[in-house]
């Protein structure tokens, strides 16, 4: 979880792009200031990342991926 706060945090969303080489699914969820959130969301997505508004969606989607992955292997 990343908090989008004008004062407290500077964050380069492309940092997550570098983590794609580890071949593990990484989902980001951002809370906080809407305008910053919107900018970071767009930057993360355009760099091949996945970002949602809430952790419930993030965990649910990871569960779907893990479930699909396990059934495919059997």
């Amino acid at each position: 979880m990343i908090a989008a706060m004008q004062v407290a945090i500077t964050f380069d969303p492309t940092v997550l792009h570098d983590m794609q080489k580890y071949r593990k699914p990484i989902i980001t969820y951002i809370v906080g200031d809407n305008s910053i959130k919107s900018r970071w969301t767009s930057q993360i997505r355009s760099n091949g990342g996945v970002v949602y508004d809430d952790i419930n969606t993030a965990v649910k989607i990871l569960d779907l991926m893990a479930s699909y992955s396990s059934t495919r292997e059997t």
């Binding site: 983590m19 580890y22 593990k24």
Partner: protein, 395 residues
């Protein structure tokens, strides 16, 4: 589909996705009309400009192309016809198509079974004629196709929106050849391999498309919006095969009484039977079911962009302790484990944290962010987790 000799027809959709020549019937000089939009998109995307033949009985030239007054006036055989004309004129058009060697026709105009008895009768006549003449029929009441080499929809799509991807989409709604793909192009940066709006499914249906996607190596994920299964047994059998190698996501419309009634007037689709029974059958075929449009986008985006996890062990990296607590609570509702880190991993992480803050899963990283900055802390924490072999995914 069965051909006129009674043999099952192979779902060869190459004339729709890779045609050699295209005639567009019902082109318009008016830039606000669908007939203009189709020609504009085809002209922009189809590499063989000299093999595009616009048809309009009153026009001479549109968008710099010579316009023919009828299909029969075109001097050569045609591979694909796209038409946006009144339904009642289509049966006679099909006979002309047969004479011109047409393999497939995309009917984008509406007014068929979804519009009432008369439209239904025309739709049935077109279906029969297509079988007799061995012409595959796409639609009607649809918005055609979008691929990286050909756009046959009338929806305006611009160069900056177009993005090649691994997702192939089928929608029984124009929305899925228009707004949905724009959303995937511009907001989710997912891109599209093939998008197909199949409308009333006079001939080409979801089974034909799923079979095509199964063979298509560049399709890595398939996503369907359907208001009814035309051939349920066939679809579920194909889906079982498909999901062995690629994920298939479905959003089904018409799950309630009012929804079913709306589907009937939208694409003349009839009920799937019991929603619960259908849902169970989809589950058996390992189809991932979305509940609504937002959920559909979220699932499609994740499967298109992310590698599949090897297991269900999750590391939560958060800027606040509360985020970790809530994340762990939610994970407990699903089949997700939040494993404890080994001593070795803990020691590696500890180097990034102050002594008074021993790192655990969920990783409350605020103190590490304060010391190293957010970017640097993430750059160092995530690799430790990924290389540990103790987790399969991170959020």
């Amino acid at each position: 589909m069965i051909d006129r000799r009674g043999n099952p027809m192979q779902p060869d959709l190459s004339c729709f996705f890779h045609p050699e020549s295209i005639a567009i019937i019902g082109v318009s000089r008016n830039s606000s009309k669908a007939g203009y939009g189709i020609l504009k998109n085809v002209l922009w995307t189809f590499s063989r400009t000299e093999q595009i033949f616009p048809i309009n009985p009153k026009a001479k030239e549109i968008l710099g192309l010579k316009v023919y007054h009828s299909l029969m006036e075109v001097p050569e055989n045609i591979n694909l016809v796209i038409c946006f004309v009144a339904p009642k004129s289509i049966p006679s058009l099909l006979k002309e198509c047969h004479q011109k060697g047409v393999k497939g026709i995309i009917i984008e105009s509406a007014g068929f079974a979804e519009a009432g008895k008369e439209g239904k009768a025309i739709q049935e006549e077109i279906g029969k004629l297509g079988k007799q003449l061995n012409i595959r029929i796409w639609g009607g009441n649809c918005m055609g196709t979008v691929t990286d080499e050909l756009i046959t929809t009338f929806e305006p799509i611009t160069a900056d929106m177009r993005r090649k991807g691994v997702v192939s989409i089928v929608g029984q709604s124009g929305y899925f050849s228009g707004a949905v793909i724009l959303q995937l192009f511009t907001e989710r940066y997912t891109g599209i391999r093939k998008a197909a709006s199949i409308g009333n499914r006079i001939d080409i249906d979801e089974c034909d498309l799923l079979q095509d996607f199964l063979k298509d190596e560049e399709t890595k994920v398939a996503a369907f919006y359907l208001e009814g299964l035309k051939r349920p047994r066939k679809f579920l059998k194909l889906a079982k095969e498909f999901t062995q190698s690629k994920p298939l996501i479905c959003l089904l419309g018409g799950q309630s009484e009012v929804g079913r009634s709306a589907a009937l007037s939208h694409t003349s689709s009839t009920a799937h039977g019991s929603p619960q029974l259908l849902s169970d059958l989809l589950k058996q075929s390992k189809i991932i079911q979305a509940t609504e449009f937002g959920d559909f986008f979220n699932i499609v985006e994740a499967f298109a962009k992310l590698p599949l996890p090897n297991g269900n062990r999750l590391a939560i990296v958060t800027i606040t302790g509360a985020g970790g607590v809530i994340g762990a609570d939610i994970a407990a509702k699903y089949n997700i484990k939040i494993p404890e880190f080994s001593e070795s991993t803990t020691q590696k992480l500890q180097k990034l944290f102050p002594e008074w803050m021993p790192p655990k899963n969920p990783v409350d990283s605020w103190s590490a962010f304060e010391i190293h900055g957010l970017d640097e802390a993430l750059r160092r924490i995530i690799p430790i987790l990924c290389e540990s072999n103790e987790i399969d995914m991170i959020c």
